[in-house]
Symmetry: C2
Subunit: 356 residues, 2 copies
């Protein structure tokens, strides 16, 4: 609502508080022009030290805060980054946000989040509403066919794809080595003598889940173990689905001697079901997970898993985005894969294996 004439208070009084103090007020108070004030406050252009002092003085005295809307209208920079996240589980969610936020903060940027997007269409819609509010967007998509996703995304704004395992030209992508981690864990179980290893999958169409499944299959194949597809059980990354998968496993014969859940939450649900049924973990059935969430080491038996530094992923995403922003999105694209780390605790049956 314009129309309210600019207030011409001149003295060193505090402003009417009803209306914010503008750069013009600072100019008036310091005796210089708005152009000079702007130059001082942004450190652009040449200004006399004496002038700098006076302007700074006036600005702090009047408690001047630049209007961000006006600034970004003029510069078309918002100093804000967007984050698009799927509907994901606790630890993962908070870690990635934390990593992103801390790095963004340290570079003077803000973070606009938008969660619970599960389809490419939702992502595209959310991205559209973010248009003009952000200088760049980090997208974590659960869908495995990220190529389709990226196809109808605008290319004008810097984008970084997190964990989409997409091989798309023209977009920066950061991935977690899901395949390698699952491969290593499966191999570990084989080394310990387990032969019938069941797997609890992630949600249908989830890229992480599928890559982990792929690593599991590859390890079995490389070890020459014939693979039985009925050992691949459905899951959705929630505890309950792990619980159900384990119940189902108990009805199979011959009964598997190990269970690899595509994430820790499901592994915990599975352990719960097994022990409820009087099955010993890891003696009878070894159980392992993926992610290394904090509680993993405190459940009994302590969960063997694959560690993923998700906060680091978020932090790196911000750096990539800021680089893109700095080069007006005309930089050479980045494609990185984050290593995972095998974490051996008790639930995989290392100690039992010695005696075998």
């Amino acid at each position: 609502m314009p129309r309210v004439r600019n207030h011409p208070f001149a003295g060193p009084l505090t402003p009417p508080s009803s209306m914010a103090v503008t750069i013009r007020d600072v100019a008036r108070a310091s005796g210089f022009s708005v152009a000079t004030v702007s130059r001082v406050l942004n450190g652009s252009g040449p200004v006399k030290p004496e002038t700098v002092r006076k302007v700074r003085d006036a600005a702090t005295r009047l408690r001047f805060t630049p209007n961000v809307a006006a600034r970004s209208l003029s510069t078309s920079r918002t100093h804000t980054l967007g984050v698009l996240l799927p509907d994901l589980h606790g630890e993962f969610f908070s870690e990635v946000i934390r990593g992103i936020d801390q790095t963004a903060q340290s570079h003077g940027y803000h973070v606009l989040v938008s969660s619970s997007h599960n389809s490419p269409a939702e992502i595209a819609a959310a991205l559209a509403t973010m248009r003009g509010r952000v200088d760049g967007v980090a997208i974590m998509s659960p869908v495995s066919n990220a190529e389709a996703l990226v196809a109808d995304l605008p290319r004008s704004i810097p984008l970084v794809l997190l964990n989409c395992s997409a091989d798309v030209a023209g977009v920066d992508t950061l991935d977690i080595d899901n395949h390698g981690g699952a491969y290593a864990m499966t191999r570990h179980l084989l080394t310990l003598g387990r032969r019938r290893i069941a797997f609890v999958r992630g949600p249908k169409g989830n890229a992480d889940g599928e890559a982990r499944l792929g690593g599991y299959r590859a390890a079995l194949e490389d070890a020459g173990v014939v693979h039985d597809r009925t050992l691949e059980l459905d899951g959705d990354f929630q505890e309950l689905s792990g619980y159900h998968a384990a119940k189902h496993l108990l009805s199979m014969s011959p009964r598997p001697d190990a269970l690899f859940a595509a994430n820790d939450s499901m592994a915990i649900g599975a352990i719960s079901a097994l022990r409820e049924a009087g099955v010993r973990v890891p003696e009878d059935v070894a159980v392992v997970g993926f992610d290394d969430i904090p509680i993993a080491r405190y459940i009994l038996p302590a969960l063997s898993t694959v560690r993923v530094d998700i906060a680091k992923l978020g932090a790196r995403a911000v750096k990539v985005l800021l680089h893109a922003v700095g080069h007006r999105n005309e930089h050479t694209r980045v494609r990185e894969t984050f290593a995972t780390e095998l974490v051996v605790r008790a639930s995989c049956g290392v100690e039992q294996a010695v005696g075998r």
Copy 2:
């Protein structure tokens, strides 16, 4: 950087893509003035249906997206809400964001998050950088003396305090009934015959932790149980501190017969330590927590706890903020307390109690 003269493309060609299409382009293409276009697009003012159609047509044909900076410069509304969070644990963090984001999205608002603020000074600083970027801010502060916090916060912008247990005039506040929940749980343990109940505290100065401690003490006092302050152990809401607290508990004599951790994470850490030492839970020591995080029901024994609907708290916060925004922050302030719910599972020893 102004100076680039407005591009005068007239035909139905796609715009140069280097520069975004503005409301003026839509005006030109539809044959009406910018005022009318604005009115159509915002549904303000009277317009002929025929005109609406034509303008809408042109807008979609040109793929017009209003420039948010320009809009908010003019209206001084950003359609964005800020969220200031402390350095908090996984589930809690993600749930509150989820609740806030979903509600905000459904009202056409965006969410700007800023995490890891632990002192009033940090909060004030973060709030300052958010100035002009948001229409309102939800603040969750860990500090127990929220009065001091609010004292030097600007009152011009709508604020809602989450879970600060502050009794401050002029600010909306939403709280969780920590005291009541802890009271109920302690009472429950007493009912089951437990007499020496230890408590693992939250971080120093944490309001939630202190309120829970208060509920615990009150229940003991009301039951006429003499209270031994050495039963109150230090903790910081992390699993490890629960682990250590339990280790310490084992060295006490007479040994407590119950342990109430101020949150679930610490309870899980404690159970881990107890079982490692060969102590039976709940037969020898009952263990209970607070929060009801998802894993609580899947650990063994399933954790008895106090449920808190944290997503609902976030959702409510958004509604309160939007109300304040709608009334230009001149509304009657709200002060609500969210009820908690006792969740009885196995770890408190309900079943054992029958046989006692």
